[in-house]
């Protein structure tokens, strides 16, 4: 009898504990914003910042795979297909490729980029074995004799192929650039084109803010602002020299959103910047600096970063004003010092010993022409031509600094080729030690891609000289 009574007590205890656990889990599930408790495994480097927002990928109430697919494309679609997608969805939707689709479901991003599986996740969130290409291209050596005997786990080696877009590296491009010199003396990055593009932005309130410098007397800061919110005379004098003031963008444009009746906002948010700089804000939101803001989360802070950051910047957060001070649009600081203020890895620390930095110094001091220096932003936020409509494009500073690092050969066209030859760039980016030294020195690695293209080209020219007819 006594034993039965004590068992009954344990049952009660078990019931209460179970109930408490269920209640706690239900509270997290239904009420708590942070649901990381339910996460089946750690997130990849690309997504870890969004851990509190399961719905960004999974949709509301954990919708199905279709929603996940839509959400992948929502964020990554553009970078996947530009400038062209070598493996578009339509290729695999074609019934003639049904057998290939059975081997590997290329219609869904998660087939190759599974999340929450850190044990099998490689760079760029890839979770497929490296010899993936062999499924469809097993007979590549018949087409490209130079590829005879190559192992399929080397296809995606630096300087060669990448599944979504071989941006710089298709054969004819390699041939076109096979005799490039390593470094061009007259190398320049293109100038930024925002000022010219203003003419094209139809929604720009040019009636209220005509494209002419703001005169000191026309500064429209309310006179009754208290000292903490307003600017003193020195501050205003300094501000009048900035690009915004010189382009006619008066105080109310940012602090009241261009609406004279709107309340004065002491600290305009990134959306306010985006009302003119929409391309920049959009790209910022796609990269690791701005993805939290774009997801409606508090801004990224350095203590959340997986890359080494400076300990004295432990609580720095990231919005537009972190790099671009509100009333001081010094892009020189934004291009180097802002980066160095937080990043503390070997590559960053080595920058000031590099020839890139020496060129940057010369440009900043005025002893070298504009566009000849190489800052952090020159490579990581390159000036690229972007379509702003179907009929016009402009040179935009690509504020998604993550886009050209996966893989880093994506940097070749947007950055390296302004000053360097293709072969030199491919080799330099493949040399990890050289990358750590911030390219101070010469590549110690040689990637064969151009050699192979040269060999194929020579064979082709020989063949053209021969008699016409079938090759094989």
């Amino acid at each position: 009898m006594a034993a039965e009574r004590s068992n009954g007590r344990y049952w009660w205890l078990w019931g209460l504990i179970t109930l408490a656990i269920v209640a706690a889990l239900a509270w997290v599930l239904l009420r708590d914003e942070d649901k990381t408790l339910f996460m089946p495994g750690p997130l990849s480097d690309g997504h870890h910042q969004l851990a509190e927002r399961c719905d960004i990928c999974h949709g509301e109430a954990m919708a199905g795979e279709e929603v996940i697919q839509e959400n992948c494309v929502e964020c990554h679609g553009e970078d996947r297909v530009k400038p062209f997608d070598s493996h578009p969805r339509s290729k695999f939707r074609d019934p003639r490729n049904a057998d290939r689709l059975e081997k590997i479901d290329a219609l869904r991003c998660v087939t190759c980029h599974t999340e929450h599986k850190s044990e099998i996740t490689r760079k760029d969130g890839v979770t497929q074995p490296r010899d993936l290409c062999s499924h469809c291209h097993a007979d590549i050596a018949e087409d490209r004799p130079s590829h005879q005997g190559m192992a399929f786990d080397t296809c995606a080696s630096a300087g060669c192929h990448n599944f979504h877009n071989n941006r710089a590296l298709y054969t004819d491009f390699l041939v076109k650039h096979m005799d490039d010199t390593d470094t061009r003396r007259d190398g320049r990055v293109p100038p930024r084109g925002f000022h010219e593009a203003l003419e094209e932005i139809l929604t720009y309130p040019r009636d209220r803010y005509p494209l002419q410098p703001v005169a000191a007397a026309a500064v429209d800061m309310p006179a009754d602002l208290d000292r903490s919110e307003g600017m003193n005379a020195d501050g205003i004098r300094h501000w009048l020299q900035t690009a915004h003031a010189r382009a006619g963008v008066n105080c109310s444009a940012c602090h009241q959103g261009g609406d004279a009746q709107a309340p004065w906002r002491p600290r305009p948010d990134p959306k306010s910047c985006g009302s003119c700089h929409d391309q920049e804000l959009d790209r910022f939101g796609k990269g690791k600096h701005g993805m939290r803001l774009a997801a409606g989360l508090p801004p990224m802070t350095t203590d959340r970063a997986r890359l080494p950051m400076r300990s004295d910047a432990a609580h720095e957060s990231l919005d537009c004003n972190s790099c671009h001070k509100a009333h001081d649009d010094d892009v020189v600081k934004a291009a180097v010092e802002a980066c160095e203020g937080c990043h503390d890895d070997r590559h960053t620390r080595a920058y000031r010993n590099s020839s890139h930095f020496r060129l940057w110094q010369a440009e900043v001091l005025g002893s070298a022409p504009p566009g000849s220096g190489v800052s952090c932003a020159t490579c990581h936020m390159p000036r690229v031509e972007r379509d702003i409509s179907d009929w016009s494009s402009r040179i935009v500073v690509d504020h998604n600094q993550s886009a050209n690092l996966s893989p880093n050969t994506k940097m070749i066209r947007g950055a390296c080729l302004h000053c360097h030859g293709l072969g030199f760039s491919i080799d330099a980016l493949a040399d990890r030690t050289l990358v750590e030294r911030n390219f101070d020195g010469r590549p110690g690695i040689h990637v064969q891609s151009i050699d192979l293209a040269r060999k194929d080209q020579e064979n082709y020219l020989k063949e053209l000289k021969g008699s016409p007819g079938e090759k094989r």
Binding site: P95, R96, L101, D139, G469
Partner: protein, 201 residues
């Protein structure tokens, strides 16, 4: 008076009934299976082939050969040039594939293939493609029609000969680095357009 009223009611009623019947009849026509898969494939091919011929003659040939104002290039983005007619055709087929995703009733697909493809991925792959491309190359002016089963689904498959209509077709294929054949002549069959329409069986 009564008779007039009766006549009016009869006339009105007849009008209503006939009107409704004719509306229903039109509705039925829209849903009737009047067009065979073969007729649909023939019609689609007529549009595709005409569009590409116009692009080849009135845009590429005129601007490149006659007016000499722009080049046409396989790498048209890098070279700031016109896309090749075959690329224009392929981009169209990719866009159709993308749009047809949302329209299961018209989920057809098409591609340009050849026994001597510049891109190996455009070589015939299924038995129907292999037989069809050989047939249209050997039987001048004839199309090839068949059915096949792919990935568990049945398709009506039509293969139409693709003929070199302009000197640029021949010169480009004969000179291309990756072309397995270099003796094409104008008027010859260079490949085929394969159209697939899903059919219930």
């Amino acid at each position: 008076m009564k008779q007039n009223l009766f006549t009016s009611i009869v006339v009105f009623g007849t009008t209503v009934v006939l009107g409704a019947a004719s509306t229903l009849a039109v509705g039925d026509v829209a849903n009737e299976k009047l067009i065979t898969p073969r007729a649909m494939a023939d019609a689609l091919h007529l549009v595709m082939d005409s569009d590409r011929t116009i692009y080849t003659r009135k845009i590429v040939n005129r601007l490149v050969k006659k007016d000499k104002v722009i080049k046409a290039s396989e790498h048209f983005q890098d070279d700031k040039a016109l896309a090749l007619p075959a690329q224009m055709f392929r981009f169209g087929s990719e866009l159709v594939a993308k749009r047809a995703d949302a329209l299961p009733d018209v989920n057809f697909s098409y591609s340009l293939q050849s026994l001597w493809p510049v891109n190996r991925q455009n070589a015939p792959k299924t038995e129907a493609e292999k037989t069809g491309l050989k047939y249209v190359a050997e039987n001048v002016g004839k199309n090839y029609y068949t059915t096949e089963k792919l990935g568990g689904k049945s398709y009506f498959t039509a293969v139409y000969p693709d003929i070199a209509v302009a000197p640029v077709c021949v010169s480009c294929h004969n000179d291309h680095k990756d072309s397995p054949r270099r003796d094409f002549k104008i008027g010859q069959v260079m490949g085929g357009v394969v159209i697939r329409i899903p059919v219930d069986q």
